[in-house]
Every structure is written in structure tokens, then in C-alpha cells.
């Protein structure tokens, strides 16, 4: 079968003109134009460029919504199997346009797209999570190679051939880690890596992480007598039966539980579902993780104004950072909206 491609290029690669024609209005032409011609040749008739969508770079930047609507119309008219945009190399506005049309096609029509950009293009960081962006040189001098790499990757995607790593397929990784099996076990790989490192030879770490965000300590609460205090915990204290089915480890959610009218957490009504410690003490007295009993006494004594009538719980062990940060931001927002002024975070 011949796959149908809708191809996006700017006014320059369409041969219309340079900066002076950057406000060129969007236009759809049947068949391949500019780099799309070479792309189609590369595919050896396995794919056909059914139409080329052309737009001036400035026009796009100033009329994003309008151009994307026209791009939608082209998708409906030509019913492509895949979108290709560029390659845009180092260009800023052109890269931005390429990223937008592919993301639009993906979000609204579940269509995959392939772009081609240089690492210096700001659009790489903007769009890499959402699409395949093939690595290219920084100018049109590397057009031939770029189109060859785009062809290879796009045909694999169209045919459903399993893809290798981002490095093997020559695109900027989409910030996704994927497991795979290797020939040598981890121990042998580690020893080989150490030998190279000690010998000052090149070695490739299998993972490097950005330094995680450090959260500064919040200023202390100056006026405790007027404070509304909330109790938060990662010790997995939930109502008996775990109604939200929070996981014992690698939690994907948190819970918010009403404690209105309670002087303490009753051991018959609350339990810990944490999977990283011996929960028998927490189950015997859940107040030892979420100290509602002590806080209620402080409330009566007037040392704090009020204990907030909800507690928040999740399980810390094995949680992914993205999930944990998400919980934190969510909960913080709810607490600010509820005018809670202080929080006690019990971690286990």
C-alpha cells in the first residue's frame, strides 16, 4: 500500500521568497513541493505526498489559531496517514510552526508526525515530548541527510516496525524511559564502564539525571494562635478499607479524609496501608502518624486556632517524583484556597 503524507513547509522552502515573503498566507497545493519532492523519491513509492501545506513564518506566528484551522481542513480533505514538517534546521519561527502543526494533528486527529530540527532550535525543547523530531545539521546544507533520516523513521512508523532507541532512530528522545533487554548483565556492564572511566577513555552512562528541584524551607509561622493547621502524611493513614484504593507502594494518588467532630483517629476507623514499614504500631494507634489527638488538645488550649477538618494521605515509598510533585502542588493549592495557614507534614 502507498501511505499518504501531508507535508508542511514554509515560504522559503516552497520557493516563494525569503524574509520579505514571511507574511505569506497559508496555501495548500496538491502533491509535493520543495523538500517534499525529495522525500517522496526517498520512499521508493512506499509513500505519496498527497499535499503540501505552505505558510509564511511570520504569518504563522501571528495567526496560529487561524492557520491550524486551515491545517485541520487540509487533514480532512486529504486524510493523511502521517504528517511531516520541515526539516526546519536551526530556524526559530519555522521550527515553531512545524511543532505546532504536528502537535495539532496529534491532539485532534491522533496523527503521528515527524519533524527535523537542529539541537539549537528552541522548538526542540518545546515540542520533543509530543513528537518525533529527527536530529539535523544547522542549515539546509544538511538537507539530503536530514530527509534520509526522516524517510527511514517515517516509513518505520507507518509500517508499524518496532522502533529502537531515540539514538538509534536519530531523533531527540521524547523524555521517556523504556525498558529493554541487553546481552550483558548489569554487573559486567558496570565493570566495563569503570575500566573505561579509570583509563580516561570515553564511556556512556546509561542514565544521567538533572539535579532535582530543591524546595526551600517555608518561613516559620509567626502567629500560631490564629493558625489553621492541617495534618498531611505519607504514612498511608486511610479510613478502614482504603476507599480510594491507594497503593501500598508506588502510589499514583492521594486521599483527603474528613475528620470533622473527631477528637482523635479511632483505631477501628483508620489504618495504615503503607508497604515500607511494620504497620502494627500505626494500626494500633493511627494518631502516632497523624496526631489528631494532640492537635485537638492544642486547639482546646487555644495554642492553635483550629485543626483543619480534613487530613491528606498518601504512601511515600517507591513513588515516582512526578507523581509526588503533582500531589504536592495539588494539595498546596487546595490548602491555600481553603485558607489553611500551617501544615504539619509527617513522613515515614
Amino acid at each position: 500500500m502507498t501511505y499518504k503524507i501531508l507535508y508542511y513547509i514554509n515560504q522559503f522552502f516552497a520557493g516563494i521568497g525569503g524574509e520579505d515573503k514571511a507574511d505569506y498566507h497559508p496555501e495548500v497545493r496538491k502533491g509535493p513541493i520543495g523538500p517534499a519532492i525529495q522525500y517522496e523519491k526517498n520512499t521508493n513509492e512506499e509513500a505519496q505526498v498527497v499535499a503540501t501545506f505552505i505558510c509564511g513564518d511570520n504569518y504563522f506566528a501571528e495567526h496560529v489559531e487561524e492557520v491550524l484551522e486551515k491545517f485541520s481542513a487540509a487533514i480532512k480533505e486529504y486524510d493523511p496517514d502521517l504528517i511531516i514538517a520541515g526539516p526546519s534546521f536551526y530556524a526559530g519561527r519555522y521550527g515553531f510552526a512545524c511543532g505546532h502543526v504536528i502537535k495539532h494533528a496529534n491532539d485532534n486527529y491522533n496523527l503521528t508526525g515527524v519533524a527535523g530540527m537542529n539541537i539549537e532550535s528552541p522548538a526542540v525543547e518545546m515540542f520533543r515530548k509530543d513528537m518525533f523530531i529527527v536530529k539535523t545539521g544547522n542549515s539546509a546544507r544538511s538537507m539530503k541527510e536530514a530527509l534520509e533520516d526522516i524517510t527511514k523513521l517515517s516509513l518505520k512508523i507507518l509500517k508499524g516496525v518496532p522502533l529502537g532507541s531515540a539514538d538509534e532512530e536519530k531523533y531527540y528522545h521524547r523524555v521517556i524511559r523504556k525498558n529493554y533487554f541487553v546481552n550483558e548483565n548489569g554487573g559486567i556492564r558496570a565493570v566495563n564502564m569503570l575500566l573505561r572511566k579509570m583509563n580516561k577513555e570515553d564511556f556512556q552512562s546509561e542514565y544521567i539525571q538533572l539535579i532535582p528541584e530543591k524546595v526551600p524551607f517555608a518561613p516559620y509561622v509567626k502567629d500560631m494562635q490564629n493558625a489553621t493547621v492541617v495534618l498531611l502524611n505519607t504514612g498511608g493513614i486511610v479510613p478502614e478499607g482504603n476507599p480510594d484504593r491507594i497503593e501500598s507502594s508506588s502510589a499514583t494518588k492521594y486521599g483527603r479524609y474528613d475528620i470533622t467532630g473527631m477528637d482523635k483517629l479511632d483505631e477501628k476507623e483508620f489504618m495504615s496501608i503503607h508497604g515500607g514499614f511494620d504497620t502494627s504500631f500505626a494500626n494500633a494507634d493511627p494518631n502516632r502518624i497523624v496526631p489528631v489527638d494532640v492537635m485537638k488538645e492544642l486547639e482546646k488550649e487555644g495554642i492553635i486556632k483550629k485543626l483543619y477538618n480534613y487530613i491528606y494521605s498518601t504512601v511515600g515509598t517507591g513513588a515516582s517524583l512526578v507523581n509526588a510533585e503533582g500531589f504536592g502542588r495539588d494539595i498546596a493549592k487546595q490548602l491555600i484556597d481553603a485558607e489553611v495557614t500551617a501544615a504539619i507534614m509527617v513522613s515515614t
Binding site: A166, N179, F181, K197, S205, S248, D278
Partner: protein, 435 residues
């Protein structure tokens, strides 16, 4: 210290009237083997099962995996202070039954008080992730006493732990008179001082004074333990033992005893000793919960490494989350002392692979071997022909996912629950890469 290491390769496992090996097949007298596990008053009993590679069998939870080993002659000790006498291990003659393992599971734990998952299938998708699907397994099934279990879990854990080591020694002991398939000698011989010295830093969980994590010469090495030096031969003879106690949800990245006994890093460093490196030995580090404790442990790891004259270190870890802090602290301290480091770690990348893999990172860490993202989902069969262990533990293993797999008879787990799937001492072949 010199250790003669003999191996018999096991290619079959059968019940018989007598325990012996013939033509690679391990025959086991069930009654004798049960006696070898020991007698305990706080459990309802012990049963034994066989699980061979490729069989349609599921075992949950896998609390221990041990390669059968014993000493031959009167020198040395196997599992010193636990099964063997309290004397120098790593010397004399050791016999190992390669390709066999003793597994420990438990049943009758109605409320799943142990809260351990650790799911092993001998065939199918799970089997591909763990070396324990490739071994001929004799499984100790501890029938727990519900009354005891409702009060505390430690005494039942202690039974599971002891029974496993005892049976492992018994099996090898019964094969002592048989001809070994191979023999090797391990010794850290004197080599050129010009070769760079390398240490192996073994970080092990020590998360709670009362949870049974790891032992050194039979002594529980909890929060009060100070990192120490052991000879690699002592590792081969089980002077450092681990166990997956109750309330421990770590299994993919747990250093099961089987992995420690078969440490690929120690094996490789031995191979290179005298050729490209000088293997200096093993430093055991306890991953405690307090910041001060971590700082103290890391200080000792650095000091011992320097005293040994190390130029390089391979660091392996156990668990995830707060142990990431231990490994980063060790990397920073060692690199700043002029010692090159490589770490082996898994990643906690989230089910979509988009989360940062470790809880912390330091700029000094530039060499990591990744043993995979333990959050990745795997569709596995709901049922197997045979189930050994505690059906109630399955609730811990089931991943809560919005949609089920396309096939009706499958469900999702995270690979974190497969023993040794993300093996942080490096025995498995999984890794992760960017896509």
C-alpha cells in the same frame, strides 16, 4: 585467603527415596528435606514443592532465594553464625549446586499481614524478567499460624529465614560425595602495585531495627551497624545474608541471597584481578533511615576505600527512594577522594517512563548502569495451573490501572514485584533507554 569452589550443574529436580544427584538431576527425599528445614512451634507447618523452568507455576510471595551450598572438609563455614559455626568463612572447599535454588514462600496468611508481593512465574511474561525462572526450585511453603501472625510478623519471618538457609546447606551436603562439574580457586593473590585498586561497595537495606534486612556472620546488621570490610570469598560462603521480611515491598531491586552468592561484579573483578586491576575486596554499607546515619556510613565507606588504596569503586544498592541518598553521598565522597565510581541502580520512572529515575542526584555522578524502570507495567496471566504461596498477597501485586490489558485473561503488574527484575547487584539483563 584461598577458596576452592566446586560446582555441580543441576538440570533436573525430582522427589526420591534418598537425596543425591545423578547425571545432573537432583533427587530429594521429601521427609528428610522437611526435617532439615528445622522444627518450629510458632507456625502450623511446612510443605515442600518443586518448580522447574518452563512449568505453569506461580509462587507468591518469594521471601528468599538461595543457591544450595555447603562446605566440604573441616575448614571454613557456610552461612557462618546461622547454619555454619562461628568461624572464618571463605576458606577451604565450597560445593555449590548451580542451576538450583531454595525458595521460601508462605501460605495461610489470610489477611496478607506480611504485606510482601514478589511474584514469580516459571513460564510466560514474568519468567523473562527473572533468573529465578531458570533455576530448578525447591520451595519451602511455611504455613503461618494466624494467631501468631495477628500479633506480630517477626517470629514467622525468622522461621522462613532459618528454614531456607538450612535446606540450602542440606541439599548441597547430600551431594558432597558426587563428582563436581567444575572447580575454581579464588584468592586475592599479590599482584603488581601498579594496577589500579578496585573495591565493591555493597549497600544493603537496614531500614528499621526490627525488620530483618541483612545479617553479617549471623548478626542482624541494622541501624547500629558500621560499614565494614569483607573478603569476596566470605561473600561466596554466605557471611552476608539477606531476607525479604514482612512489610518489605522491595522485590525487583532487592538483593536476594541468590544474587549475592552469584554476584556478577565480584566474578568479573576476580577475572580481571592481576590483569587490569587489583581487586581489593568488598565494603558492606547499611542503608539506614537517618541523615546522620547515612553520613556516618558514607564516611566509613570512603575511609575504608582510601585505606585499601582504591582508585575505583563499583557501588550497588538495594531498594529505592532514601537509599538513593546513600549512593549519591558515597559517589560524592569517593569522587572527591579521587576514587572513580560507577553505580548500578534501577529507575523509578513512573508507568509512562517520564519521571526522574532517582530520588536525588549529584553532579559527581556521571557513570550509572541502569537496570530498568521498575514502574513499567507488564500484562501477565490471571491464573496459572499451579499456585504456591498466599493467594491473598496477589492484592498487593495487582497494579491499579484505568484500563485492563486487551486480553481478558491478563492483568497488569508493575515489574517492581518480580524478584530480581531490576537487579541492582547486576545479575539480570534489563536496562532502560530513552525513546
Amino acid at each position: 585467603m584461598e577458596l576452592t569452589f566446586r560446582s555441580i550443574v543441576i538440570k533436573g529436580l525430582e522427589w526420591a527415596d534418598k537425596t543425591y544427584v545423578d547425571n545432573g538431576v537432583l533427587y530429594v527425599n521429601k521427609k528428610e528435606a522437611l526435617l532439615a528445614c528445622g522444627e518450629y512451634s510458632n507456625i502450623d507447618g511446612i510443605d515442600l514443592h518443586i518448580a522447574r523452568p518452563g512449568e505453569n507455576i506461580r509462587i507468591v510471595p518469594v521471601k528468599a532465594a538461595i543457591e544450595p551450598r555447603c562446605k566440604i572438609g573441616d575448614k571454613g563455614a557456610m552461612f557462618p553464625g546461622i547454619v555454619g559455626p562461628m568461624r572464618q568463612a571463605g576458606t577451604g572447599i565450597t560445593l555449590a549446586l548451580k542451576g538450583a535454588a531454595v525458595l521460601v514462600t508462605e501460605s495461610n496468611d489470610i489477611e496478607a499481614k506480611c504485606r510482601s508481593g514478589a511474584i514469580l512465574d516459571m513460564s510466560g511474561p514474568i519468567a523473562a524478567y527473572t533468573p529465578l525462572s531458570q533455576t530448578y526450585n525447591l520451595i519451602i511453603d511455611v504455613k503461618v499460624n494466624q494467631n501468631v501472625m495477628s500479633k506480630e510478623t517477626l517470629s514467622t519471618d525468622e522461621v522462613c529465614r532459618l528454614a531456607g538457609f538450612k535446606l540450602a546447606v542440606y541439599l548441597a551436603d547430600c551431594c558432597k560425595d558426587d563428582v563436581a562439574d567444575s572447580e575454581k580457586t579464588y584468592t586475592l593473590s599479590d599482584v603488581s602495585e601498579d594496577l589500579p585498586g578496585v573495591v565493591y561497595v555493597m549497600q544493603l537495606l537496614a531500614q528499621n531495627p526490627e525488620i530483618i534486612d541483612f545479617h553479617v556472620y549471623g548478626q542482624l546488621a541494622g541501624a547500629t551497624f558500621i560499614p565494614t570490610y569483607v573478603h569476596p570469598n566470605e561473600i561466596y560462603d554466605g557471611s552476608v545474608t539477606t531476607f525479604l521480611g514482612s512489610h518489605c515491598t522491595v522485590s525487583a531491586d532487592k538483593q536476594y541471597m541468590y544474587e549475592i552468592q552469584n554476584s556478577p561484579v565480584i566474578e568479573e573483578l576476580y577475572k580481571l584481578h592481576g590483569k587490569t586491576i587489583k581487586f581489593l575486596g568488598v565494603i558492606v554499607h547499611n542503608e539506614v533511615l537517618t541523615l546522620k546515619g547515612k553520613e556516618r556510613a558514607s564516611l566509613f565507606v570512603k575511609n575504608i576505600s582510601k585505606a585499601l588504596g582504591a582508585k575505583g569503586a563499583i557501588l550497588v544498592t538495594e531498594g529505592h527512594g532514601n537509599p538513593d541518598e546513600d549512593i549519591m553521598m558515597n559517589v560524592r565522597n569517593l569522587e572527591n577522594a579521587g576514587i572513580s565510581t560507577v553505580i548500578i541502580s534501577d529507575e523509578l520512572g513512573g508507568r509512562d517512563g517520564r519521571s526522574p529515575g532517582l530520588a536525588d542526584w549529584v553532579p559527581e555522578c556521571n557513570a550509572m548502569v541502569s537496570v530498568g524502570n521498575m514502574h513499567e507495567l507488564l500484562a501477565v496471566p490471571k491464573k496459572t495451573n499451579v499456585f504456591i504461596g498466599n493467594e491473598n498477597s496477589m492484592e498487593i501485586v495487582k497494579a491499579l490501572v484505568d484500563k485492563d490489558p486487551a486480553e481478558k485473561d491478563l492483568f497488569f503488574i508493575e515489574i517492581k514485584d518480580i524478584p530480581l527484575a531490576c537487579a541492582q547487584a547486576g545479575i539480570s539483563n534489563l536496562s532502560a533507554r530513552w525513546i
